[in-house]
């Protein structure tokens, strides 16, 4: 007598492919997932609560540790929020430095995703290629800020350090180099039959689903919604650059792959233009008081991070610490659709679907 029964499988928190301390409780029938329940919170550090007892400048290092592969955008969102409340005008040179730092960081983040996504399918070489190129970006950012991951670079009113001598030339040299590398990446991976089989039509969701689940970033744009805050609600000086918003119609893992690869190239375009337009001289800090106090009231700003919309809400009662601070962390929202996508899929597809969502657990758990 053959008897089959469902099995409970714990994927994570220590598992090679959950990209951090993420846990999935799966009910499986053979290799088919009947039910998936994500469990998060293993990396919760209470950033928002901690921020209530910190001065605004002291909060910035904490944002580095949220999305630690794309810390520059997190840096930006908090200073942007405070600047909005204070009505500060940021010097032009500082704006350009911020844009360069953020876009370089976006490229680094997407490269890391590219490498690990392909690694999830068992191919080891792309990871090392991606890390090699990402390392160059990290070196550039290291020269700029003195750190490789947790930059703590931006300040309310500007940036902490000016670009060192010869830095801009190095950035300008890097852009064509990476373009050449990207061609090789496409040759190695994008046309690979096995890779296409593993990603095409996997984890598909519709435009409506994406909007209902509040997805953002490449996860949203892969369904054909042309929505990019850099274009639709330009902040900083993004309105000065000429770039496209990459979208795909299919809404599957492969579409997300192509959107991210396309975004690397668009970011390179922005970097190229920013280097060209970079002002010869000027201040890197606006005139700000020694102790920053946001005026009484509240503000919400949102920007386009590497993984989606990062929002920052500040409620202030006029003191040097915020009364309440909240981050809209895109990975957390993007993860919500996972149980719906996983139902009825096999364990192999689980890896492809989770990988394509691109989560960073520091951001999910906050």
């Amino acid at each position: 007598m053959i008897r089959t029964e469902e099995m409970l499988l714990n994927v994570g928190p220590q598992h090679p492919s959950t990209h951090g301390v993420f846990r999935l409780v799966l009910k499986i029938d053979g290799e088919i997932i009947v039910e998936a329940k994500p469990v998060i919170g293993y990396l919760h550090r209470g950033t928002e609560k901690l921020a209530e007892n910190l001065q605004y400048t002291q909060i910035i290092p904490y944002t580095d540790r949220m999305d630690y592969v794309s810390a520059m955008t997190n840096n930006y969102v908090i200073v942007h929020a405070v600047e909005t409340m204070m009505g500060l005008q940021v010097p032009e040179r500082a704006e350009y430095l911020r844009i360069l730092a953020m876009e370089l960081n976006r490229v680094a983040s997407h490269l890391l995703w590219w490498g690990t996504f392909i690694l999830d399918f068992g191919a080891t070489s792309p990871l090392l290629y991606a890390f090699r190129d990402r390392e160059m970006i990290l070196n550039l950012l290291n020269e700029l800020s003195g750190a490789r991951l947790t930059f703590n670079y931006m300040r309310v009113g500007g940036v902490k350090w000016d670009a060192p001598e010869g830095w801009l030339e190095k950035v300008a040299e890097f852009v064509p180099y990476l373009r050449g590398q990207l061609k090789g990446y496409h040759q190695l991976v994008s046309g690979n039959e096995i890779f296409l089989n593993r990603t095409k039509g996997i984890g598909t969701y519709t435009k409506e689903d994406a909007i209902n689940y509040s997805l953002s970033g490449p996860n949203l744009r892969s369904t054909g919604v042309k929505w990019d805050l850099r274009k639709d609600e330009p902040y900083s000086i993004y309105d000065r650059f000429d770039f496209d918003v990459v979208t795909r119609e299919e809404g599957d893992a492969l579409a997300r792959y192509y959107v991210r690869m396309g975004e690397i190239e668009e970011s390179l375009k922005i970097i190229e233009q920013a280097v060209e337009q970079f002002p010869k001289d000027g201040e890197i800090m606006a005139k700000v008081p020694k102790i920053i106090k946001a005026p009484k009231g509240e503000a919400f700003v949102r920007i386009e991070g590497s993984r989606g919309e990062i929002g920052c809400y500040i409620s202030s009662d006029g003191k040097k610490e915020p009364y309440r601070l909240k981050f809209r962390r895109p990975s957390f929202y993007n993860l919500q659709i996972l149980p719906k996508l996983l139902e009825g899929e096999s364990i192999s597809n689980l890896i492809a679907i989770l990988g394509a969502v691109d989560i960073v657990l520091g951001e999910v758990d906050g």
Binding site: P16, G122, A123, T124, S125, R198, S346, I351
Partner: protein, 335 residues
């Protein structure tokens, strides 16, 4: 040489010669395994823009694998509490022993072959099939869900791929008129290497062999990104080393088999006959190993259901068509 020994009367001298030869072969294989692991890491490093092992043993990390093996051997022997103890202990042995047994029939040169069986190829397939039992046992006995899934996958995969593997060789058997590996090489001396006569069979065989070896892109059984380490998740120390050893010895055996079946074994290229057969064999064999490593650096992993589909819907029909075609050619053109 070995054949003469086998047929000669039993005596202490003959026994010791035979024993010494067996020890030499064992050492050659173990030497290959240590060097193959090093070579794999070096070649992968070269392809991925890094060095690979560089310090242990003076230059090029020559003793890296030796150091690794020593480390594995002195590691604490760990058996999970919930494991099925006897099965857990015997599984690596069952997976590992056949890998050495198959070496007996492979003719390294026309003289050096331990058992000149008339059904050499069949013997290889039959014995290597036993390894699956070991893997399935390991997956079951570990009492770990990932191991179980890995073991199931391994069994399903290896059984599926054995069929196209055998079918693709039938074309060669038709042409050579023998299952004896020694004779298959000898026939290639007259007709030319079988890779020229049986290109389709070669491709099918190579793919099926890669799957049989559990190597990228068919390394589903131990897909670390999905199943942590597949059937040997709970194994560590020398038991784990046994699984790894079996894997690399099979790599040796399968590469040797490909060399024998398709690349003319020890036969030299024209005009280069002055180089001894053993060198030719080593060269061709290294090329096959290199291609296997190259695969690993290039391909992502295929999905379990696609793997099955590929075996039954693509490889098997192609292999069958190849047999039919070969039969026709042999009947009408080679009479």
């Amino acid at each position: 040489m070995v054949q003469d020994l086998l047929e000669s009367s039993a005596g202490l001298l003959n026994f010791s010669i035979f024993f010494a030869l067996a020890v030499v072969l064992l050492l050659v294989i173990l030497g290959f395994v240590t060097m193959a692991i090093l070579a794999e890491r070096k070649v992968l490093g070269f392809m991925q823009g890094r060095y690979g092992p560089a310090y242990v043993g003076g230059k090029w990390g020559l003793l890296q694998s030796v150091a690794d093996v020593v480390k594995l051997l002195v590691k604490e022997d760990l058996i999970p509490k919930a494991a099925d103890k006897p099965l857990f202990i015997i599984a690596p042995v069952i997976a590992f022993a056949p890998s050495f047994m198959v070496m007996a029939t492979i003719p390294l040169t026309d003289k050096l072959q331990f058992a000149d069986l008339n059904v050499g190829f069949l013997y290889y397939i039959a014995i290597s099939g036993l390894t699956i039992v070991g893997m399935l046992m390991a997956g079951w006995a570990s009492n770990n869900k990932y191991s179980l899934l890995g073991g199931m996958r391994a069994a399903a995969q290896m059984i599926s791929y054995e069929i196209p593997l055998v079918m693709s060789v039938l074309g060669i058997v038709l042409l050579a008129g023998s299952l004896n590996l020694n004779e298959i090489v000898a026939v290639q001396g007259e007709s030319g290497w079988f890779i020229l006569w049986q290109p389709i069979a070669f491709i099918v065989f190579f793919i099926a062999a890669t799957a049989e070896l559990n190597r990228v892109p068919f390394d589903l059984a131990e897909a670390e990104n999905e199943l942590v380490a597949g059937f040997h998740t709970e194994y560590s120390g020398f038991r784990w080393a046994m699984f790894m050893l079996a894997e690399y010895v099979y790599m040796f055996a399968m590469s040797a088999l490909i060399t024998v079946l398709f690349l003319g074994g020890w036969l030299p290229l024209p005009f280069l006959g002055f180089i001894p057969g053993a060198v030719w064999f080593a060269l061709k064999f290294s090329l096959v190993v290199y291609i296997l490593i190259w695969f690993r650096a290039t391909f992502p992993r295929i999905r379990a259901d696609q793997l099955m589909e590929f075996a039954w819907k693509v490889l098997l029909p192609v292999a069958l068509a190849n047999i039919f075609l070969t039969a026709l050619i042999k009947e009408f053109f080679l009479k």
